[in-house]
């Protein structure tokens, strides 16, 4: 089954990175259409579309936009979050590299809807070659009257500037991003006040992900209601998934959110199956922060239904047996991978990226990293597993920003579902240094739970 493409449809057209080719293929129509509407009507279309933020949290975009404060005489800003640093996630990079004009087009329409005359793209510093691509697209759009003063004689003025970060995952968190935009350390702010009221330079600010803002283009072109017909339930439209790990075809895919996880992994249209004919062991389907699932719970929910690539189905069962859509960073582990070691690298990542403001996060991430390294190296004790559990539970919910939770969840899920693999690293410490635990029972069919009579 083939998915409808709304974002990447034209990605492979030669020269689509340049204005002329992009325009010839229908580019900037949404700006022409939106600028004839009232800004609130644009917000209304986005509300109707059901679009949910693609940066990880999945918050409804139209609703977020309607919260922006409009005090008299105070400028408002839209900031595009291109910090993309969640392990497993590389979809925004793809959009910006191959379809820069799609993002610029989405930014113009969204800036109009929000009343942002100066809009910023905050891009992770390591994507050092991409600002040139974006700045060229901005210059071309401006030369053709889609940016600058009085765009298409609408009276709307808009400039877009690109700012590079300098290596800090935490700057993807929206208030840290704003601090960084202001030339400070990326320490998240305590909310409230929310950025929609007091954001960059204390002005009302909306921060949205690259993919979210690109999706505004098809929403305006086809209308919010049509967009909402694609997908299922509250998972409307299409989603970019960046797939990596032990699969035959890693890459960035656009899916409508009706295909099953199994189809996504095994179909030649998507990941093309597990590499070298190995068997699937585990998967982190939404970026490093979301819970890891063993193969059996990944492909089927605890109720025995086939799991679908959308917000609702991926989180079916809560954290006990489900996971999350997150940022769409889809990490696949085959039977040869060690969950303990993989979890250790993630713990190291979060320790490295903690901004250090809150002690549960600063101390907890360091402690978890040390314990996991010890376990991986065969020097752990059985009590370390309980200690890890205890530490992660004390971080979750006790910090200024969600990085604390994001650090706790991968550890919690790994222990929840792979506890025997952790134990084996202790009971069979010497052996664990020479081979890994393998697939074990992680792909076994789950017992079908009988409905419990009350």
């Amino acid at each position: 089954m083939s998915s409808q493409k709304l974002l990447l449809e034209n990605a492979h057209i030669e020269g689509i990175r340049y204005y002329d080719v992009y325009r010839k293929n229908g580019g900037y129509r949404s700006v022409e259409k939106a600028l004839k509407m009232a800004p609130d009507e644009v917000v209304e279309e986005v509300k109707k579309s059901g679009l949910r933020g693609r940066g990880g949290a999945g918050f409804p975009t139209g609703m977020k936009w309607s919260f922006i404060a409009k005090p008299e005489g105070v400028p408002r800003h839209l900031v595009c979050n291109a910090d993309e640093s969640e392990p497993g996630t590389f979809k925004d990079r793809y959009l910006m590299e191959f379809l820069p004009h799609l993002l610029i087009e989405g930014l113009i329409v969204s800036s109009y809807a929000l009343g942002s005359n100066v809009t910023y793209i905050y891009i992770r510093g390591e994507y050092a070659w991409i600002p040139d691509i974006l700045e060229q697209a901005i210059a071309e759009a401006k030369a053709n009257g889609f940016l600058g003063k009085n765009i298409l004689n609408s009276g709307f003025d808009c400039e877009i500037y690109v700012q590079r970060g300098a290596g800090a995952y935490i700057c993807g968190e929206e208030t840290a991003l704003i601090e960084s935009l202001e030339g400070k350390r990326g320490n998240p702010r305590i909310k409230p006040p929310f950025p929609a009221v007091k954001g960059a330079w204390d002005r009302p600010t909306v921060v949205n992900n690259v993919e979210t803002l690109a999706a505004v283009v098809p929403i305006i072109n086809i209308g919010g209601e049509e967009y909402a017909k694609i997908g299922v339930g509250r998972s409307t439209g299409t989603k970019l998934i960046s797939a990596c790990g032990n699969i035959n075809k890693p890459g960035v895919y656009e899916i409508d959110m009706t295909i099953s996880v199994e189809e996504f992994i095994y179909s030649d249209e998507w990941c093309g199956g597990i590499k070298s004919g190995k068997r699937l062991k585990a998967c982190i389907p939404g970026g490093s922060s979301v819970p890891i699932l063993p193969a059996n719970l990944l492909l089927k929910t605890a109720k025995g239904e086939s799991r679908i690539m959308n917000y609702e189905s991926l989180s079916d069962g809560g954290f006990a047996t489900g996971t999350m859509m997150g940022s769409g960073g889809f990490i696949v582990l085959d039977e040869d991978q060690c969950v303990v070691k993989h979890t250790y690298t993630l713990a190291r990542f979060y320790r490295h990226e903690s901004c250090g403001q809150c002690s549960p996060c600063r101390e907890g991430t360091g402690w978890m990293e040390k314990l996991l390294l010890r376990l991986d190296q065969g020097q752990g004790k059985l009590s370390d597993i309980d200690l890890l559990w205890d530490i992660q539970s004390k971080i979750e919910g006790n910090t200024i920003c969600p990085l604390g939770d994001a650090a706790a969840w991968p550890v919690a899920a790994a222990i929840r579902h792979f506890r025997d693999e952790f134990e084996w690293h202790i009971t069979n410490a010497a052996e664990a240094q020479t081979r890994n635990y393998g697939l074990a029972h992680y792909a076994d069919p789950l017992p079908v739970s009988e409905p419990v009579a009350v």
């Binding site: 497993g88 996630t89 100066v118 050092a128 300098a166 030339g183 350390r185 890459g251 690298t345 190291r348």
Partner: protein, 170 residues
């Protein structure tokens, strides 16, 4: 031989700084700090105290405001680095594709450990966390660009290319 570099932007670079400042609201020139530090590092190679003080003066902010930022972000070099910096990603998705072996191999070839610079000042090896190239692993950043799908052969070729560039340019 240790060369003393004058910490001073050229006229053209100063113009660039002014363009960057103009992107932000009036009086909020501190916002230009991250981009101006990137520029300073590009021009002077790394961020010495002298360089940071110079940037502070340019943006009319306190030197401490610059130090705070320069020490927070991993991309700013607070000590000299080699002409070519190899930053190899070691996070989960790269680890399962063999990044540990790549790091070890580069270390062996250049006879340095992560964090060190070769004696001739040509190469620095660093480990990095996820760089957003997980589907093209293993990978490393070299200067502005990414080198992806690394193998030992590819690493050899990259090292040779860097050495070659240097001998051509000198």
């Amino acid at each position: 031989m240790e060369q003393k570099i004058m910490i001073q932007f050229s006229q053209e670079q100063l113009e660039k700084v002014n363009q960057i400042i103009a992107r932000y609201p009036e009086g909020k020139q501190k916002s230009a700090l991250l981009p101006v530090l990137h520029l300073a590092q590009e021009v002077f190679g790394w961020l010495s105290t002298e360089t940071m003080d110079y940037v502070a003066a340019l943006l009319q902010i306190e030197p401490i405001e610059v130090y705070e930022v320069a020490t927070f972000y991993t991309m700013y070099n607070l000590k000299p680095v080699g002409k070519y910096v190899f930053e190899v990603c070691q996070t989960g998705p790269c680890m399962i594709q063999g990044s540990d072996d790549i790091i070890a191999y580069i270390g062996e070839r250049l006879n340095i450990k992560p964090g060190e610079t070769t004696e001739d000042g040509l190469f620095t090896l660093k480990v990095a966390e996820c760089l957003g190239a997980c589907g093209y692993a293993p990978m490393m950043q070299v200067g502005k660009f990414y080198k992806e799908h690394l193998t030992k052969e590819k690493v050899d070729a990259i090292i040779a290319e860097c050495r070659n560039n240097v001998s051509v340019n000198n």
